[in-house]
């Protein structure tokens, strides 16, 4: 069983649309939507939930007002501004659950033992059925912490589904960015497909996410979407990637009709014959890279030494 993760760094580059568009060509896939706070893959596939489970992302503190002596040591100790008292409450502090990290330092410092910690359900994950195979997805509640852990949960459930149903490929749609949910999406993956666009934001976010895949030794290829928006930029970017042994496996055009196609509930592969052909060819290029060999990168490969250093944001 192999895991292919679709990433981008930059939101809006076309990651989810392209990932979904590839699905009809994949060999018995399990789909995993790791973008848990903006979960869009289920919308494209009319996913029917088969089972769901609450996700306990952490804990929240609560003050037992009857036991509180009003010393406010907790307010001083909290580093997240999550506990405060105001005149309305008569000087008794209360916890803002949206800001509470669940560290329990307030409970630790409270001399009156007036603070208790409660598990909180910060989200839900679902195992659903789609016409192409099982899908695991999740919904993080508003302001939820620990999205990386929920992504891990989604990944585990997807791997379990693949094992149960004897499926060969898990396709993970990762969120934008480089934070813990992206890191959790990449963990243990066999291959990463990075979708980018020839714009300043697209490029700088791409380089940052490539630094992640390099560190995790996940073999990566790039798709340059909306390539004809800025042909000179596209060329320059392709050359830079080529110099670092990162294959650019497809150049897709900027297509104003895509937005409407998605709004009509169709997959990109169903948008037109051209798109069908492009996505089919993309999978044909990727398939041997992912499915046949052990794709874990060897240290000397994909060194990205020649890419500009975007660890701290890049050239200013």
């Amino acid at each position: 069983m192999k895991t292919l993760v679709v990433i981008s760094g930059k939101g809006g580059a076309g990651k989810t649309s392209l990932a979904a568009g590839l699905v009809p060509f994949l060999p018995r896939p399990v789909l995993a939507d790791a973008d848990v706070d903006a979960s869009n893959l289920p919308l494209l596939f009319e996913a029917e939930p088969l089972l769901s489970e609450n996700f306990i992302g952490g804990q929240v503190a609560r003050v037992r007002t009857a036991d509180c002596a009003g010393c406010l040591d907790c307010v001083a100790a909290c580093r997240f501004g999550a506990i405060a008292s105001d005149d309305d409450s008569g000087g008794i502090p209360s916890v803002d659950p949206l800001s509470c990290e669940g560290c329990a330092v307030c409970r630790q410092v409270c001399p009156s033992d007036a603070i208790e910690m409660h598990d909180i359900t910060t989200g839900q994950w679902f195992l659903s059925r789609t016409r192409f195979g099982p899908m695991v997805h999740a919904r993080l509640g508003p302001g939820g912490e620990n999205s990386g852990a929920l992504v891990e949960r989604v990944r585990r459930a997807a791997a379990d589904a693949a094992e149960r149903d004897d499926r060969d490929l898990v396709l993970v749609d990762a969120p934008a960015g480089i934070g813990c949910p992206v890191i959790s999406s990449l963990s243990g993956a066999d291959f990463a497909l990075a979708v980018t666009e020839p714009t300043p934001s697209g490029e700088s976010d791409l380089f940052r996410v490539l630094a992640l895949t390099r560190h995790f030794r996940v073999r990566t290829a790039v798709v340059i979407n909306k390539a004809d928006l800025a042909p000179a930029r596209t060329d320059a970017l392709a050359r830079e990637l080529d110099a670092s042994d990162i294959p650019v496996v497809a150049f897709f055009p900027y297509d104003e009709t895509v937005s409407r196609v998605l709004s009509e509930g169709r997959l990109l592969s169903e948008a037109s014959e051209e798109w069908h052909g492009r996505l089919k060819r993309l999978w044909e290029t990727l398939e041997p890279m992912i499915m046949n060999s052990s794709s874990r990168m060897k240290p000397h490969e994909q060194s990205t030494t020649y890419l500009p250093d975007y660890t701290h944001g890049g050239p200013r």
Partner: protein, 295 residues
């Protein structure tokens, strides 16, 4: 007024709108633009007038264990809510990537064997050009959590501005903890969406967060095709009584300008006036919010 530009869905145009708003409002007075997306900081691409940015590290206090003073009682391991400490047979092990810098371990250690030391998780950049002040938070690649960088940024915003200043916060995508931090600091939120099922779905999720915080909000519909999909967004806004302040058309020319680092002002005729005209309604929403008339 502190205005947070958020969206839910990534790529709807937050940075484009935030930088364009700032550019338009500069015509009428000073503006601070704070790029609060430390995972993918991009606002500077659209502000070429800024020049050299000054960089300062963002550090968080993390434990450093004096193994000689430690008697392996394990209280720190027990108290850590994030499993960032483990008790080995001969020492305490610290796992930085799990640490939330809460200070609990240092507090509990009966031997005072834990000291906190600053560890860098990112940088803040600042700069200015005329009436424009600029702040940007950057998360170091490999650091899992953007929140510490965002909080450092927001503290700097607060210390460098007064209630009379207009601050535009260019927020992160999504609706989880980084966005929650930005929304918390704002007086009013501007949700940028697009007419696709993704855009609306994520808009609703982001709005839940804003409503939970009791903040007022308004919507900008970007990349409009002028078709039935717009109606869905309009209907939702009407239903929730959230003002839909502006609809920006989907133009290839805008996308091409974007690829050159040119925001809306250079790409759409008349947009500057439209953006300038948003300042007052947003200020009014912000005031209403502060006076308890919100969401």
């Amino acid at each position: 007024m502190i205005l947070a530009v958020v969206s839910g869905k990534g790529g709807t145009g937050k940075t484009t709108v935030a930088t364009s708003l700032a550019a338009a409002w500069l015509r009428d007075g000073p503006v601070m633009l704070a790029d609060c997306d430390p995972e993918g900081p991009n606002a500077h691409h659209f502000l070429p007038q800024l020049g050299e940015l000054i960089e300062t590290p963002v550090n968080v206090p993390m434990p450093s264990i004096d193994q000689a003073a430690c008697d392996l009682c394990g209280d720190c391991v027990d108290v850590c809510a994030f499993n960032a400490l483990a008790k080995l047979p001969d020492r305490i092990l610290f796992i930085e990537s799990l640490c939330h810098a809460c200070g609990g371990c240092a507090l509990v250690c009966p031997r005072r064997a834990i000291r906190e030391e600053p560890r860098q998780v990112g940088v803040l950049r600042s700069g200015s050009a005329g009436d424009l002040r600029f702040l940007q938070g950057v998360l170091s690649v490999g650091e899992p959590r953007a929140t510490a960088v965002i909080e450092a940024m927001l503290e700097k915003v607060r210390s460098q501005t007064t209630a009379e200043d207009d601050v535009v916060l260019d927020g992160p995508p999504g609706a989880s903890c980084p966005v929650a931090s930005v929304v918390r600091a704002a007086d009013v939120c501007l949700l940028v969406t697009e007419p696709t099922p993704f855009g609306l779905h994520d808009l609703i999720q982001a709005h839940e967060l804003i409503a939970a915080r009791g903040k007022p909000s308004a919507v900008i519909l970007n990349r409009s095709r002028g078709d039935a999909a717009d109606t869905k967004v309009e209907a939702w806004c009407r239903e929730r009584e959230i003002p839909l302040l502006l609809t920006i058309p989907d133009r290839r020319s805008v996308a091409e300008a974007y690829s050159r680092g040119v925001p809306l002002l250079g790409a759409l005729e008349g947009i500057e006036e439209e953006l300038r005209s948003l300042r007052d309604p947003l200020r009014r929403l912000a005031d209403a919010g502060r006076n308890g008339v919100a969401a």
